[in-house]
Structure formats: structure tokens, C-alpha cells
């Protein structure tokens, strides 16, 4: 039971993080390797705003998410727009920016156990004999709200539909008057917002550590590759696979193997089914 409940919670928080990465990739075809960095940065921003500027929690939470969106948009507007289309350069540039942010934070003093964000809803509850703290349930709740929000946003708004168009066929969307660069910026803003929000929810469960940036990045990549790069449904399903795998390794092996399992999963997927579980359906592509 414990495995089931904690696996579920873990999977949903994982899919929350991975959704941002997948979203950016599916729309702009740019793998945003700075995703993990934005995640850590948002947590750190919130801490700074609360402890050095003495804002209250909600204001600093909102401000830090905005800041993360702004950085995401700037990464695209200043750097990626010039190198878009050169795949290796995209990876190197985003990875370099991510490294710069993470190591910059480490250099700036983000070390040790002093940096914690407050828990939004304290206390815990017993579900089927398993003790779960409210913060974890809150993470599940926020995850579901974000999924719902995205479903509505993509399905019913003008920008959402345009994003969907760009994700499927960029050039056909351009012919209909959709600006590809603008939509890529929107995707970076949304991706960074998701990274930021998940940071604010997940960090209170422990300390803000820079290493989380790398973990988040690796797990996001693992989830996106297993689910099929750019597939939103695939990402959610793959995060359940990885999420439960994480909990199982924690219970039966040891926490240290979590990363190994994720990386192994990437390799196995690439060997057996390179397009992932829900990779682009090839049979649909040409029908003349």
C-alpha cells in the first residue's frame, strides 16, 4: 500500500516536472536542457525574496515564478532564436545556460541545509494505513489542476490551438498565419512556469539543493524519451513508469540507484523502441 500511494504521488510530481520539458520540446523542437536550472533557480528566488526581502510567501512565490518565466523567455529570445535549427548547438547552448545558472547558484552560496521553503499545508493524514503529509497531497492536487488547466488551454483557446498546430506541422501552421517564434516563446514561458510551480511545491519536502537541478533534468529527459519525445500523453504515462520504478528501487535496493534506473531506462528505450511509447505515429504521415 505504501508503495502504491507514494508511487502515485511521486509519479504525479514527476510528470509535473517532465511536462514542462515535453511541452517546450513538442512546440519548439528545442530540448531545453536549462529546465532543471530554472527549477532550482525558482526555489532559490522564492527563498531570497522571503528571507532577504521579507515578502510574504504568496507574493514571493508568484514573483519567483514570473522571474523563471522571464528567464525562460529571454533564453529563447536572446540566444535560441539565432541558432534554432542547428540541433547540436541548441543542446549545447541550453545545457551551457543551465550549467551556468546551477553552478552560478552554487557559487553564490546555495549550499547546505539552510535553504528551505515553508510547507504550504502542514500536517499529515493517514490513508489506508499509510501516513502521508498534506504537502504531498497538495502536490498531487496542484499537478491535477495544472493538467486540467493545460487541457482546457490547449483545447479551447486561440493560442493553445496555435501551439497544437505548430507542434504537429510547423510550416503548415505558418501558412495559416501562426508566428513560430512567438509560439516558441510562449512554450518557453509555459515550460518555465511549470518548472517554477513544481519547484515551489516539491522543494518544501526537503532542502533547496543545486543537485536537484541535475536530477530534475535527467528525470525529465528520461520521461520524455520513454514517452516519446514531444508526446504529452506519453510523458504522463512514462512518468508513472519511472515514478513507480523510483519508489521500488528505493524500497528494494537503495536511493542511490534511482538515477541509474532512469538512465538505464533511457538506454533501453533507445535500443528497443527509439521513438518511445507514444512517438509520432509514422503510419499517419503520408496518405496519398
Amino acid at each position: 500500500m505504501q508503495i502504491f500511494i507514494y508511487g502515485l504521488i511521486n509519479s504525479i510530481s514527476l510528470s509535473l516536472v517532465a511536462l514542462g520539458f515535453t511541452l517546450v520540446y513538442s512546440i519548439s523542437r528545442i530540448p531545453n536542457f536549462a529546465h532543471g536550472a530554472l527549477y532550482v533557480a525558482t526555489g532559490y528566488f522564492a527563498w531570497i525574496l522571503m528571507n532577504l526581502f521579507h515578502f510574504n510567501y504568496f507574493i514571493s512565490a508568484i514573483l519567483s515564478v514570473f522571474l523563471s518565466c522571464f528567464i525562460g523567455a529571454m533564453i529563447y529570445r536572446l540566444v535560441l532564436i539565432k541558432i534554432r535549427g542547428m540541433e547540436i548547438s541548441e543542446v549545447i547552448a541550453t545545457y551551457a545556460i543551465g550549467l551556468a545558472i546551477i553552478e552560478g547558484l552554487r557559487w553564490g552560496g546555495l549550499r547546505g541545509a539552510t535553504y528551505t521553503l515553508p510547507v504550504i499545508v502542514p500536517g499529515s493524514i493517514e490513508i489506508f494505513g499509510v501516513i502521508v503529509d498534506y504537502q504531498r497531497l497538495f502536490a498531487v492536487f496542484v499537478g491535477l489542476v495544472i493538467f486540467l488547466f493545460f487541457y482546457i488551454f490547449i483545447k479551447f483557446t486561440k493560442t493553445g490551438l496555435a501551439l497544437k498546430g505548430i507542434a504537429q506541422d510547423e510550416r503548415a501552421a505558418m501558412m495559416l498565419g501562426i508566428d513560430s517564434d512567438k509560439m516558441a516563446i510562449v512554450s518557453f514561458i509555459l515550460g518555465s512556469a511549470i518548472a517554477g510551480i513544481s519547484a515551489l511545491i516539491i522543494f518544501p519536502l526537503g532542502n533547496i539543493v543545486v543537485e536537484a537541478g541535475y536530477n530534475v533534468l535527467v528525470f525529465s529527459i528520461a520521461v520524455s524519451i520513454i514517452g516519446g519525445l514531444g508526446s504529452w500523453l506519453g510523458a504522463v504515462i512514462a512518468s508513472f513508469i519511472i515514478g513507480y520504478a523510483q519508489i521500488l528501487t528505493e524500497v528494494f535496493l537503495s536511493t542511490h540507484y534511482q538515477m541509474v534506473i532512469a538512465l538505464l531506462a533511457i538506454i533501453i528505450t533507445l535500443l528497443i523502441r527509439p521513438s518511445g511509447l507514444f512517438g509520432k505515429q509514422k503510419e499517419l504521415e503520408e496518405r496519398v
Binding site: 541558432i83 535549427g85 486561440k158 504537429q168 510550416r171 503548415a172 505558418m174 501558412m175 496519398v288
Partner: protein, 247 residues
């Protein structure tokens, strides 16, 4: 009015379009005919601006160097250097070769994405599209990728119409269509001109069904415009007859 003057397009050293001049009056149907690789699609890409996107992507990949000379003028504004979405905003919408439907979206969603530029008239346009292509009505919730070729073509034209274009570019709308669907598409072209007063430029290698409905036509061979004229003069031209009608 849309004018293309002295257009030349190079792919590396290969001349794809050689000094083509083309005029499309407001509310007329203009045909561009030619065999495979005559340069029809390149001409359509140049009018809609997609060529600039291809050029940019090729340059990024280190692929072919594409150079464009000449001018594209729309309503006496020079649009040669405008990006595709900017031209679409001005009303030039391309319905591309091989349709390029959004395969994972439903038919209705395809049409909704098409309405990006004109949300205000979405309902009216949708009604019009379903009116000229009643078959789409039965498949509104079906995935675009699962439609037949003819249905996809209707959807592609419908999707372009949702943007309320003033110039509609159709690239090979009859490609791979059965005679039944060809007739529907040709009829729809006539209807688009008659009820919406939209300028239509059709590029097609299968000229026979299209020539009777055009106002003015151009024959393109190896990138150069070799013959132009009204519908009747093309129909009666012996060269056109032997090359396109097999008489």
C-alpha cells in the same frame, strides 16, 4: 491585386524559377500549369513566403543555399521580404501540396486552428466551409490523419478558408484525387471566387479539369513561363492541347 515580377529562385546553382512574371487580379482565378519539377511549388512558396523559412532552415543545417531575386507585390506593397505569417496576416494563405493536415487533431480542431487569424468570423466561415464540403460534416470528430485523400484535400482547403484569405494559393489540389473528388474541389474553387470574391491561384499539373474555370493561366516549363493567356486561348492552343489534353 497580386503581382510577381521577374522572380528568380536558385537552389545552389540550379535555377528553379527563371524570370517569372505573374499577375492575379482581385477576385480572379489564375492557373499555373506545368509538369513535375517545373517550379510550380517553388513559385507558390515564393508568393506565400515559405521560401524564406526554407531558406533559413537550410542555412541553419548547412544545406542548400537558396537565393531569391525579383519582387512580390501585394496591393501595391512590396512583400518580398515578409515572413510567411506576416503575409498570411495580409491575406495570402497557402493550401500546401500534399495537404499537410494536422494529423492528430480532429477535423473540427484543424478548422479551428485555421481560424487563428480570424476568430471573429469563425462561425460564419465554418458554416461556409461545411456548406461547400458537406462531407466534412460527417467526420468533424475524426482525426485528420485518418481521413481519405479527398477528404483531407477538402479539409486543407477549408482550413485555409477559415483564415478569411483575400488570396488563396492552392498547390496541387487535385493530387491523387479520384474524379469524383476532383469535381468537388474544382466546383469549390468556382464557388470560392463567386461567393467570397477571393483571388485564387491554382498550381496544378493535371490541367484538364482546371483550365475551364480559370480566368487567366500560365504554363511553366523548367522554371520559365512559356505561355500565358485566358482560359479559351489556352484551351484552343495546339501545344497545350497536345501536352495537357493528349489530343
Amino acid at each position: 491585386m497580386l503581382e510577381v515580377t521577374n522572380l528568380m529562385v536558385f537552389y545552389e546553382n540550379m535555377l528553379a524559377i527563371n524570370n517569372v512574371t505573374l499577375t492575379a487580379k482581385k477576385g480572379s482565378i489564375v492557373g499555373v500549369f506545368g509538369s513535375n519539377s517545373a517550379g510550380k511549388s517553388t513559385l507558390m512558396y515564393s508568393i506565400s513566403g515559405i521560401i524564406l523559412d526554407i531558406k533559413k532552415k537550410e542555412a541553419m543545417k548547412g544545406g542548400e543555399r537558396i537565393t531569391v531575386f525579383g519582387k512580390v507585390i501585394f496591393d501595391s506593397k512590396d512583400i518580398t521580404n515578409l515572413l510567411p505569417h506576416e503575409r498570411a496576416k495580409m491575406g495570402i494563405v497557402l493550401c500546401p501540396e500534399r495537404r499537410r493536415i494536422f494529423p492528430e487533431s480532429s477535423v473540427l480542431e484543424n478548422l479551428k486552428i485555421g481560424a487563428y487569424l480570424d476568430k471573429r468570423n469563425e462561425k460564419k466561415n465554418l458554416e461556409y466551409v461545411l456548406n461547400i464540403f458537406p462531407r466534412l460534416k460527417d467526420h468533424l470528430n475524426r482525426q485528420g490523419g485518418f481521413l481519405s485523400g479527398g477528404e483531407q484535400q477538402m479539409l486543407a482547403i477549408g482550413r485555409a478558408l477559415m483564415a478569411s484569405p483575400s488570396v488563396l494559393l492552392l498547390d496541387e489540389p487535385l493530387l491523387g484525387l479520384s474524379p469524383y473528388y476532383q469535381k468537388i474541389v474544382v466546383d469549390s474553387i468556382k464557388d470560392i471566387k463567386a461567393t467570397k470574391n477571393i483571388t485564387v491561384i491554382v498550381a496544378e499539373q493535371y490541367a484538364r479539369p482546371i483550365i475551364p474555370v480559370i480566368d487567366y493561366g500560365y504554363i511553366i516549363e523548367n522554371g520559365s513561363s512559356v505561355l500565358e493567356g485566358t482560359s479559351e486561348s489556352l484551351l484552343n492552343n495546339p501545344d497545350v492541347k497536345s501536352a495537357y489534353f493528349g489530343v
